[in-house]
Symmetry: C2
Subunit: 407 residues, 2 copies
């Protein structure tokens, strides 16, 4: 007998048939002798519909009231799902964020979970009930409802799994698991049986978008075993854990693409110390997150510095640079969002320099130009023209994952 936390996303509970499907998965798990705690998102487009309603009334509504409004979506999901479970002859009880003891800070619309007071859930489990908890929401010290921001239901599930010392936290989505590349775009993409937290973190931040990053960070911190799987296929998914069995063998677990990238290049900087510090402290002050940084080697007493930011921050970064042209002392500024970041992720990569080399070779064979390169312990990223992005992913994936590739 184990304690299993199961999380189902909005598309998994979008209508009556899907709610009943989810109820079947839950009761099947329960029938096998497990204690089951379920976390649900709002049905289908409910959250978007509520946001639209609010915008019509007040485009600048306070976040406190937005959270009050949006938290109803998950409450509808859990009560309906509890009814579906009751209809199958099992005992269920649905709980809101405050009933389940999800204590958060007061950062409305993007709150962080501070603590889970799991007494109520434990009491219901002791009564042999299936417990359903609203994802995405909690309560702050003023007894006001907060939401965790988009994708927060994954975090709710992991937080509950950690607080309850669950044996497994299953995240059900509309995909079968974590793939070596986006299976909708890349031929030959393969499902991974296992992946480490660190690899998953890199993949999520690189745009694979299977799991919410905060949830993986929390799972890593509290060592919660996760599994990503489909609520529709019934197939085994991908296990996410601290150390995976196959780690020695595999060097690369996936290829990811991120189109939400802009590159800013400062041309003609004086080749003297302190320039980089000036640039990035100005950006930090404006809360612009910088990703890849490239500095050219100084030539003729002049050098260039380029860096990437998310496209949302592009305009702000441009303005900050322009406003400080005198202080920084560059000749010209080049800004483009016609770029994409392609990355390979794999634990143990740092011990195998051949991996990066193989990636560059694949891009060269496909005649794709590399603008920037960045490496970390478990990741190699390159910046390419946006129009080359799909081809780049396919070429790299073929090189690492095709049957004849020597991975």
């Amino acid at each position: 007998m184990a304690l299993i936390v199961q999380k189902f996303g909005g598309s998994s509970v979008a209508d009556t048939a899907r709610v009943q499907n989810v109820a079947r998965i839950i009761t099947d798990t329960y029938k096998q002798g497990n204690d089951v705690v379920v976390v649900l998102s709002a049905q289908g487009d409910t959250t978007d519909d509520l946001i639209a309603k609010a915008k019509e009334i007040n485009p600048k509504a306070s976040k406190r009231e937005m959270d009050m409004l949006l938290s109803t979506g998950e409450q509808i999901s859990v009560s309906l799902c509890a009814m579906a479970i009751e209809a199958m002859g099992y005992q269920a009880v649905s709980l809101t964020g405050w009933q389940a003891g999800m204590l958060t800070d007061s950062n409305y619309s993007a709150a962080r979970i501070k603590r889970v007071r799991a007494e109520r859930i434990q009491k219901e489990l002791d009564k042999k009930k299936i417990v359903l908890v609203t994802g995405f929401q909690g309560i702050n010290k003023y007894d006001d409802i907060t939401t965790l921001g988009r994708g927060g239901s994954d975090t709710s599930a992991v937080a509950l799994a950690a607080a309850l010392h669950a044996d497994l936290c299953q995240i059900y989505t509309d995909v079968d698991g974590v793939y070596t590349a986006d299976p909708r775009h890349v031929t030959g993409a393969k499902k991974l049986d296992e992946i480490t937290f660190d690899e998953m973190l890199e993949l999520a931040s690189l745009g694979a978008q299977v799991l919410h990053n905060r949830s993986v960070e929390m799972a890593k911190r509290y060592n919660v075993n996760m599994e990503v799987l489909s609520s529709l296929s019934g197939n085994p998914g991908t296990k996410v854990k601290e150390v995976v069995k196959t780690m020695e063998k595999t060097h690369v677990s996936g290829v990811a693409k991120d189109k939400n990238v802009a590159r800013i290049a400062l041309v003609g900087l004086a080749d003297q110390p302190g320039i980089a510090f000036k640039i990035f402290s100005l950006l930090a002050k404006e809360k612009v997150n910088v990703d890849i940084i490239l500095q050219s080697i100084g030539r003729e007493e002049s050098k260039d510095i380029s860096f990437t930011v998310s496209q949302d921050d592009m305009e702000k970064a441009k303005q900050v640079m322009e406003a400080n042209q005198d202080v920084i002392g560059f000749k010209s500024l080049e800004v483009t969002d016609q770029v994409a970041k392609i990355s390979i992720v794999g634990a143990g990569m740092a011990n195998n320099s051949g991996v990066a080399c193989k990636m560059f070779e694949a891009l060269f064979s496909a005649s794709i130009n590399i603008h920037m390169i960045s490496t970390s312990e478990i990741k190699v990223s390159v910046l390419v023209d946006e129009r080359d992005a799909e081809r780049a992913v396919q070429a790299i994936h073929d090189r690492f994952f095709s049957e004849f590739a020597s991975n």
Copy 2:
């Protein structure tokens, strides 16, 4: 400066324009220097839509989960209305039943308010905020969400007004106030400026359906001054209070019609003591509420007893009688739902026997047959054929309220 509780029903907040209209009424009241606490129902058909969703999943869903589901409707209303008030430049805060301290018993779907812990509301009023509270719901001792049953928002408003010692509890609906008869069906129906709690109670129970009866009972118990008025017209409404100024003058304040009536007649009973006791104790055991009772005078050692019940209870009452034919000892049973109850209501009626007489005269003039008669301190009811109901109301109303009538 006064403290005013305002309650708006579901049709008053059905869409964005109406929410904004309600927000204007609220802020107008606030601008005049009043503290304002607002109670809202769910928007338009929200509650019915949620019930339909639940029925699709589980026609026999537990009441605990139904309450969890339905309580979201009011939460959506209060947060949207708070946003509308914010958009007008005022500070508002929305509170759910549990946040507002509405403590109820655990009778899910028909809970009764046990106590209001108004500290949170008082704190927000002290901050000069407009406070919006979800109607229709509360929380029980297990920290579970309960609902008060249909029309419970009126009760929420009165309970809050009582707990906060409010100066006035305004119930906004889609009618202008309380009329001498249903203005949609009766020509010449007039709006009353004032009415007593007792009269209002009789009118509500007789099918006038302007106010939820529980709310009037509670208002009477805690002596909360109520006013019924329209959220659309802006006209003054009808005040409901313990003693009205005009009481000495008026004998009849309204004519009401109730079609949800069935008559059951037991024919050929033995004329001996204890029969009535047997019949009505059997019905009481099955929780059938009996309204009017008529017993014929015994003739030839046999008598008849007829009584009325609501149409919902008709089948059950019939079954109970049939199952106990031996014990009760009647010859035949007559059951019909083709009847209606017409009543006149007025404080001080008991001191004026002419009132009942005038009512019978009006029915006689209109050639309408009376099946049963029942009288109380402030009410005279008659049972007539359902097909005569509309004409009966009009005839009685004309007799009492037409300009030439000597009321």
